[in-house]
């Protein structure tokens, strides 16, 4: 075909239409012309920039933690004084490890529930076509339009035994779950689920049909294919949904503040623990800062673990198509 001369083709003649490019393209284009080095340099600049901007507030937090509370004023970039005992004091003042444990359990159980239910829903929305799909998705999305306060009162009634449930002839009042994990985990599950459903819908929808077909021919049910093939292949999406959910729960403070009495033994979460340091007027910023640093560690660990999944682009080599 096409015997005519193709001027632009061939080695080194790629200088096509530089004129029409926008600044960003030109910038990228320039970086490409000066091979790899410009590109690498750009990359390192970006990396360092992000590292500095994201980590600086943590450094500030560390500065605050190490400075004795009385000296926290007119702060510079270095701690005034050096008071590492604060990391011990913080556990003496408040059983912070218990609060961390509570948050961890709440986060984990919510994440499991959400991932499970949202996986089923994501599979349905991402891979099946059925009447009512769009309406349901919009409905689920709409739930997240509401501020948490809009859910609170009825749920509080429901979870503290204040709602009458009519079961045919008998009417029972709802169980009193105050100070248990349930009145937190359930609302979290419901309120954070829409995000996960949407994430998983997108990811599950992108897995080629061929792989699900192969699994089904090999003898799985549709659900089996979901769990054995689609979910593992969507690992980045699933891990991301999980991390996002977990972190949201870990830090949630509306329901988790009001659905228990704030004691570590009543499943109060980490934020309640941090606020415990605060006195009526005095605020030991150093303790709070130390607690925050400690409190963030489990999430850091979780991210380290989960990222192995997040960065496992796995579809290579699957299909010839």
């Amino acid at each position: 075909m096409a015997t005519e001369n193709e001027q632009q083709s061939g080695i080194g003649k790629q200088g096509d239409a530089d004129i029409k490019r926008g600044p960003l393209e030109r910038w990228v284009g320039a970086a490409i012309k000066n091979p790899k080095r410009a590109y690498r340099a750009m990359f390192y600049v970006a990396t360092v920039f992000f590292l500095v901007t994201t980590l600086f507030p943590f450094y500030w937090l560390l500065v605050l933690a190490l400075t004795p509370n009385n000296l926290i004023s007119d702060m510079g970039l270095l701690p005034k004084g050096f008071n590492p005992e604060v990391f011990i004091t913080m556990f003496e003042r408040v059983p912070f490890h218990l609060y961390m444990f509570n948050s961890f359990v709440l986060g984990l159980s919510t994440t499991i529930i959400v991932l499970l239910l949202a996986s089923l829903a994501g599979y349905v929305f991402g891979r099946l076509r059925f009447p009512g799909r769009s309406a349901l998705m919009l409905g689920i999305l709409a739930i997240s339009y509401f501020p948490p306060a809009a859910f609170f009162l009825p749920l509080f009634e429901l979870f503290t035994g204040g709602t009458d449930i009519v079961l045919g002839p008998v009417t029972v009042s709802s169980p009193d779950l105050f100070n248990t994990p349930a009145p937190m985990v359930l609302p979290f599950s419901a309120l954070f689920m829409p995000l996960s459903i949407f994430i998983l819908t997108t990811f599950y929808g992108q897995i080629p049909d061929g792989l699900e077909d192969a699994a089904r021919v090999e003898g799985t049910t549709r659900l089996g294919a979901l769990f054995r093939v689609i979910i593992p292949l969507s690992a980045p999406g699933v891990a991301t949904a999980g991390v996002l959910t977990f972190i949201s729960v870990y830090n949630e403070f509306f329901f988790s503040f009001l659905m228990n009495n704030g004691e570590a033994s009543s499943w109060a979460p980490i934020v309640a623990g941090i606020l415990k340091y605060q006195g009526q007027f005095d605020t030991p910023y150093n303790l709070m800062a130390a607690a925050s640093i400690v409190g963030v560690l489990p999430v850091a660990i979780l991210v380290i673990v989960a990222q192995e999944r997040i960065v496992s682009g796995l579809t290579a080599g699957a299909l010839k198509e």
């Binding site: 004023s73 003042r93 009825p154 503040f257 704030g262 606020l275 605060q278 006195g279 009526q280 005095d282």
Partner: protein
């Protein structure tokens, strides 16, 4: 309990189905072992052993164990928490530590026990007769009944650096005078200015709190205003706690405006468009406009300020040996006009905004627990217990007479400043707490902060505020 079934479309109406909060409680001793939960704060829970000891020493039967739930110290969070607990009729906790600044809305909702009817007469009369009156007022309902036992009051004072003032030529005799005889704002500002000039390395003259928050409307502004003879709702003796919608709104009166001009002068200097004559300017930093207690205290504790208005907790901090020790001076808040010159009773003079906490009882608690709770309350009320708590936790004893006691003077640091506190306590002005106060408070603090910052003229700000407050009053 059916306190909130409006959503079912039913009996949302006028509050006729109020919970019975007034049944008398048996004062017999409970015989079995019983644990009473008290919703307190983390400071209390840190000191729980000591508190128990105090209570047992003061007649609490050993079979009653007190347990503390350490609620959040972010006070309006705690209020919200209590609203949910009491609003949904939970039985626990039995006793609740309530801010004097928001006990009244709970009374209005019939959510706490009417102690006048439930407690023995002797306890009630002790409170009514012997406690700081301002405190008692904030625990009293429309009907004059008592709903909470003041646990401790809180009064701000003016702290200062004796060492710095000495540099400006003042001496111990002056300090002694100031301790009980308040000075005027004119004098205060002049002295501060002098001290600033005498100590040029000191950054700030006077630090206080003027961020747009509850602390401004309840306290700082309230103090400034009242010290100039102004009031929110006319005569405080009559109108402080109501009747809502049926009282004058007087925030646009001249004394109030003067107090604002005074603050603007302190911050911006005498050539501010709305300065107040006689006040020496430029002694407070603009930063006060975004300071609450702690940020304002930091520079003072850090040695960067001469004068500082704050609550007693900071006296303990600043008077510590490793901070200023004996160099910390304390005096009552300065006045704008004297009591005699003031238009309304309770205004003028060295007023101090009233803070502090009450103990209230959960009406839904089972009778046994209520009985035991009465014992706890009784133990807390003992003068010995109050003094012991003063030592243990820094709770200022709720009865003025106790501030004269020897035991009180022995308390570390703050024991040195009891006369000043007593003056403050006797001149305390409560905030006008009603059910609409939370709404009014945020409008007040915004308006005042804007006026202080010079975004609006004092007249404009206050007349706008007046109409907003009017609407809020009328909405009920």
């Amino acid at each position: 309990i059916s306190s909130s079934d409006g959503g079912d479309g039913g009996d949302g109406g006028g509050g006729s189905d109020d919970t019975e909060t007034g049944t008398p409680i048996s004062t017999e001793e409970v015989t079995e072992d019983i644990t009473i939960q008290l919703a307190g704060d983390s400071r209390m829970s840190d000191n729980i052993e000591g508190i128990r000891e105090i209570l047992y020493d003061n007649g609490l039967p050993e079979n009653i164990t007190l347990e503390i739930i350490a609620g959040s110290q972010v006070t309006n969070n705690r209020q919200n928490q209590y609203q949910q607990w009491l609003g949904s009729g939970r039985e626990e906790p039995t006793l609740l530590m309530m801010d004097s600044g928001w006990t009244i809305p709970f009374i209005a909702r019939n959510q706490i026990q009417n102690l006048s009817q439930a407690l023995p007469e002797d306890m009630i009369s002790t409170v009514k007769d012997e406690y700081f009156q301002a405190s008692v007022g904030t625990a009293t309902g429309d009907n004059g009944d008592l709903y909470g036992i003041p646990l401790f009051p809180d009064f701000p004072t003016m702290q200062y650096r004796k060492d710095l003032l000495r540099n400006a030529g003042y001496d111990d005799s002056d300090f002694e005078t100031w301790a009980t005889e308040s000075m005027s704002w004119e004098e205060f500002s002049k002295i501060t200015k002098e001290a600033m000039e005498a100590n040029s390395d000191i950054q700030y003259g006077f630090t206080f709190q003027a961020s747009a928050y509850e602390g401004l409307s309840c306290c700082d502004f309230n103090e400034f205003m009242t010290s100039y003879g102004g009031a929110y709702f006319g005569n405080p003796e009559e109108n402080l706690f109501g009747p809502i919608g049926d009282r004058p709104i007087t925030v646009d009166e001249e004394p109030v405006l003067e107090s604002i001009r005074m603050v603007r002068t302190l911050i911006n200097g005498e050539d501010d468009e709305h300065s107040l004559d006689g006040i020496t300017g430029n002694i407070a930093p603009e930063a006060v406009l975004q300071w609450t207690e702690e940020p304002s205290r930091k520079p003072f504790t850090g040695g960067d300020a001469i004068m500082h208005r704050n609550w007693p907790y900071s006296i303990t901090i600043n008077g510590a040996e490793d901070v200023f020790g004996e160099d910390l001076g304390v005096m009552p808040i300065p006045y704008g006009v004297t009591e005699d010159e003031a238009q309304y009773p309770m205004t003028g003079g060295p007023v101090a905004a009233l803070g502090g906490w009450h103990l209230a009882m959960n009406p839904n608690a089972p009778d046994r627990k209520k009985q035991a709770a009465v014992q706890v309350l009784r133990a807390f009320m003992q003068p010995e217990a109050a003094l012991a708590n003063f030592g243990l936790q820094g709770w200022i004893p709720p009865r003025p007479e106790l501030l004269d006691s020897e035991e009180a003077q022995e308390v570390d640091v703050i024991g040195r400043y009891l006369p000043q506190l007593k003056v403050a306590g006797e001149n305390a002005i409560p905030r006008p707490v009603t059910v609409v106060w939370p709404q009014q408070s945020s409008q007040i603090s915004t308006a005042v902060n804007a006026a202080y910052a010079g975004e609006k003229s004092p007249e404009q700000a206050m007349s706008d505020l007046k109409s907003t407050l009017e609407q809020i009053e009328q909405s009920q």
